[in-house]
Symmetry: C2
Subunit: 189 residues, 2 copies
C-alpha cells in the first residue's frame, strides 16, 4: 500500500533492529485519512468473503478496525486486555504473551457478540511474533465462529508471526511488510 | 442526536442508578455507522473553530475521535493510561482518578504532538465525574495549547462532570444527556 509505505519511510523511526516507532501516524498520534485508506484496502481484500464482524484488540487496533468495519458495514469488536481476571461465565478469555512488555495478559470478548455463524476478520496494527493475532483467533474459535483472515497494517516479516499464522492455516494480509530494520534503515519485502 | 438516543433506548442496559451499559454499540462492540455520524456531528458543532488536533484517551474514545478527526481533517492523538511511570522528559503526564475502578492512573501524551499553537477538541465516550476530561484538558494546557471544547458521546448529567467543566470555563457538547437512570429507566434531559 503506497501511502502507508511513504508514511513509514518519511515518519517511521528505527529505534533498533527490532523496533520501528510509528507513533506519529499509527499508535499514538493517528492520521485519520490514512486510517480510512487502510480500512478501504482491507475491505477491498475481503470483499465477497461475507465478513460479519471485525475483531481487534485495544488500543492501536481500534482505528484501523473501525474504518474497516465501516467499509464492510458490519460491527467492530475490540477485545480488552486485563492483567488477570476472576473467572466469569459470560466472557471468552485467552492468554496472550507480550514480548515487548514481557508479561502475559488476558484478553476478553463478551460471549454475546460472537456466535458460531460469525465470519470474522481480525485486524491489528502490528504483526511481530503473532501472539496477539493467535489469541484473537482462539477467542473466535472458542465461540465456534470462523476466522476468515487476519489483516495487519505493518508486518515485521523478519519476526516469525506471519509464517506461524500461515502454517496454522490462517490467511494473513499485511499492507506493508518489512524485511529488515538493520543499519537504521527500513527495507521492505 | 436522534440516532444515538434511539440506540441508548433500544440497546442500553441500566445496571443501576449510576451505571448504563452500552457495550453493544459504544465501548466493546462498536457500531461504525453510528461512530461516523457521531464524528460528523462533533465536526459540525466545531466547524469554524479552527481545530488543529483531536485528543482522546484509550480505549473507548478512539473510535469517535478518529471519525471526528477525519471529518475535521486534522490528526487525532490518544492519551495512554498507565499505572505509574518513571519520570521522562519527553512526555506530558497528568494523574486521573477513576471512580469506576477506584484507582489513580497516569495519562500521557508525547510532547512532540502538542504545541502552543494547537487548538484542541477533546473527545470522550462518557462524561460522569469529569476526571478524564479534566486530565486531558490539563495535558493540553501543560503543552501551552488551547482547549477549544470537550465533545462527549453520552453525558450522565446527574453526575457533576459537565457542571464542573463548565464552571471551569470549558465548552462542553454532549450528544445525549441523561437526567436519570432511576427505576431501571433512561430519562433524557
Amino acid at each position: 500500500m503506497k501511502l502507508l509505505k511513504e508514511k513509514v519511510m518519511t515518519e517511521g523511526i528505527v529505534l533498533s533492529d527490532q523496533v520501528l516507532k510509528v507513533d506519529s501516524f499509527l499508535n499514538h498520534q493517528m492520521d485519520p485519512v490514512l486510517m480510512r485508506e487502510v480500512g478501504a484496502e482491507f475491505a477491498r481484500l475481503y470483499a465477497g468473503e461475507k465478513i460479519t464482524k471485525v475483531l481487534t484488540i485495544e488500543s492501536s487496533g481500534i482505528a484501523p478496525a473501525i474504518m474497516t468495519a465501516l467499509e464492510l458495514d458490519v460491527p467492530m469488536i475490540f477485545a480488552r486486555k486485563h492483567k488477570s481476571l476472576t473467572l466469569r461465565d459470560d466472557i471468552l478469555v485467552e492468554k496472550v504473551y507480550s514480548f515487548t512488555k514481557r508479561e502475559t495478559n488476558e484478553i476478553t470478548v463478551s460471549k454475546k457478540f460472537l456466535n458460531k455463524d460469525d465470519r470474522v476478520l481480525i485486524i491489528d496494527d502490528f504483526l511481530a511474533n503473532g501472539e496477539a493475532a493467535f489469541g484473537l483467533a482462539r477467542v473466535v474459535e472458542q465461540a465456534g465462529a470462523s476466522v476468515v483472515g487476519i489483516g495487519i497494517v505493518i508486518e515485521k516479516s523478519f519476526q516469525p508471526g506471519a509464517r506461524l499464522l500461515e502454517e496454522a492455516g490462517y490467511r494473513v494480509d499485511s499492507l506493508v511488510r518489512i524485511a529488515s530494520l538493520e543499519n537504521g534503515t527500513v527495507t521492505f519485502v
